[in-house]
């Protein structure tokens, strides 16, 4: 078996955030994410980051799990942090190998980093505290277009199947003596194997579609789900959303 990087691995834990109604959770955290991403001053973005960390702590998700997810996304943020100080016009701080570092550049780099990190961190309490199929159903209830919900659902269902298919194929390739090297031959073999996976996937999609039509699928799709919005859900959503609004109000006044 593959070790799948499952985002909902710790959905079984129990915390205030885990108990939060999935629909309210998505709306409230999405609002907060957009609100923090829209901040334009470093100190407020810093407050946003602290708030994000606070929610992460509140969700009781293991730190190692959180860091593993944040680590990968950070790889995309770091380049901005490095490039910005050198590329923005403004007050010079120092020169490194003839490249001017500006105050404005550093500030903007820090701002982007803070905003992006906050967003990435907030995704965890939003998504990782609910079983993924619940999240999908919540999206459906929130009237996200059916086609998107279905795409997400099938991706989630079949990514493991394709993963295993690839693993089986790779095992067959390796057991016939193939070793991955940086030769043209090795790359060509890899390419062909991937091509095979596409063909297999295409054929499977046809069989799945037949199975769906056999059970009356016409393109629309509904699922049954029991969501129960409690008073505490409303209070928590209100708090999170107000936080997003207040950050902007204070920034506007100051």
């Amino acid at each position: 078996m593959l070790d799948y990087p499952r985002i909902d691995r710790f959905a079984y834990l129990n915390s205030m955030i885990h108990r939060f109604d999935p629909r309210a959770k998505i709306i409230a955290f999405l609002f907060l994410i957009f609100s923090i991403v829209g901040l334009s001053e470093v100190k407020f973005a810093l407050v946003g980051l602290l708030a994000s960390i606070f929610f992460l702590v509140l969700s009781r998700l293991p730190l190692r799990f959180a860091l593993r997810h944040i680590k990968w996304v950070s790889l995309f943020i770091i380049p901005f942090f490095i490039i910005m100080p050198f590329t923005m016009e403004g007050t010079e701080i120092c020169t490194i190998h003839g490249l001017k570092v500006t105050y404005e550049g550093v500030e903007y780099g820090v701002l982007i980093t803070l905003r992006a990190l906050s967003a990435v961190i907030l995704i965890l309490p939003m998504i990782a505290t609910t079983r993924f199929e619940e999240t999908i159903k919540a999206l459906e209830r929130l009237r996200v277009p059916s086609i998107m919900v279905q795409m997400l659902m099938f991706t989630y269902r079949y990514i493991f199947v394709f993963g295993e298919e690839w693993e089986r194929m790779w095992r067959a390739i390796e057991s016939r003596g193939f070793r991955l090297r940086t030769t043209l031959y090795a790359l060509r073999t890899m390419g062909r194997a991937m091509g095979m996976l596409f063909v297999k996937s295409y054929e499977r999609s046809e069989r799945v579609y037949n199975a769906m039509r056999s059970r009356g699928y016409t393109g629309h799709q509904r699922t049954l789900a029991e969501f129960n919005l409690q008073k505490s859900d409303l209070v928590l959503s209100a708090l999170i959303i107000s936080l997003g609004i207040i950050l902007h109000i204070i920034q506007g006044v100051a």
């Binding site: 999908i136 099938f154 269902r157 079949y158 037949n210 199975a211 039509r213 056999s214 059970r215 509904r222």
Partner: protein, 304 residues
């Protein structure tokens, strides 16, 4: 009794022009148990896909309870004909087992209570109580297979079509599945299966169609199994018990009807021993060697 499935002059060619089905005429009565057997690539799955209108075809006619599949309301056909495909990973496409089993009833636009009732019934029937929130990906193959059957019987079809139901199952899962299919049949559901599992044929069906692009033969199991030439031409086989009793005959055992299963064998032996004063007599006579060689030859595929 009504005719559950009728096909008349059904022809089908793949997009590349290869003939898959040629002039298929089949009549299956309500409540019957029928197997469609034949070599790999004989068009068995293709034929099944015609039964609920997944493959629509104007060259010929498929009728379900007298209604033409191409002309009837799609929902009408779907409701009556449930198809269980071979690979459960194709059949279970929803996030949880509950959603999968509810998928069909939801599409029939039943109300929520009815959907929940049917899901519960189907899961109980298949021994999957408590599996509601499980992801199909984490189930064993046997469990997946049962779940895919649950997902179809929740639509309460009158005709159940199963493509290779016993393939890849361990003996326990296989036996359980056969039992469930037969229970459904006792409730009046018409059963149509394709299979290579020749030992399952006597347990699962009463009548057999041999399909190899076209219908080669049709009959009750014993008739089909007794035609060695037919079997060989269509890459088929008979159950080991059947062969064993043919061998016993070479040693002088007196047997009119060769048994198809262990149960029939016990019955047969009991009867024969009973009528022979409490014992049977086997011996080697002058033709025994010749006759056993003939039996061996009859079922061999590894030489010509």
């Amino acid at each position: 009794m009504r005719e559950a499935v009728t096909t008349r002059n059904l022809n089908y060619s793949y997009p590349d022009g290869t003939i898959a089905l040629n002039n298929i005429n089949i009549t299956i009565q309500e409540g019957e148990r029928v197997a469609i057997v034949g070599p790999n690539g004989a068009g068995k799955t293709t034929f099944l896909l015609h039964l609920n209108g997944i493959l629509q075809n104007t060259d010929g006619e498929v009728k379900i309870f007298g209604k033409n599949v191409n002309e009837a309301e799609r929902e009408d056909i779907i409701k009556n004909v449930g198809v269980v495909f071979q690979d459960p990973d194709d059949q279970l496409f929803m996030p949880t087992i509950f959603d999968d089993v509810a998928f069909g009833p939801m599409n029939l636009e039943l109300n929520e209570n009815e959907v929940r009732r049917r899901v519960k019934n189907s899961l109980t029937r298949l021994g999957l109580t408590g599996y509601d929130e499980r992801c199909s990906h984490h189930l064993s193959y046997g469990e997946k297979k049962r779940a895919s059957l649950a997902a179809v019987i929740s639509m309460e079809p009158r005709i159940l079509v199963l493509d290779e139901p016993t393939a890849n199952l361990d003996p326990k899962s296989r036996a359980e599945l056969i039992k469930i299919i037969n229970e459904l049949n006792r409730d009046g559901v018409t059963i149509i299966i394709t299979t290579h599992d020749i030992n399952a044929v006597p347990e699962l069906v009463d009548r057999v169609y041999v399909l190899n692009r076209t219908i080669i033969a049709e009959g009750i199991i014993r008739e089909i199994f007794s035609d060695a030439k037919l079997l060989k031409e269509n890459h088929l086989e008979v159950p080991e018990v059947f062969k064993l009793f043919e061998v016993l005959k070479c040693f002088g055992y007196n047997c009119e009807e060769l048994p198809l299963s262990i149960n029939e064998a016990i019955e047969n032996l009991t009867k024969t021993i009973g009528t022979n004063g409490g014992h049977i007599h086997l011996h080697i006579h002058e033709h025994t060697h010749e006759e056993t060689e003939k039996v061996k030859h009859k079922y061999r595929y590894d030489h010509h």
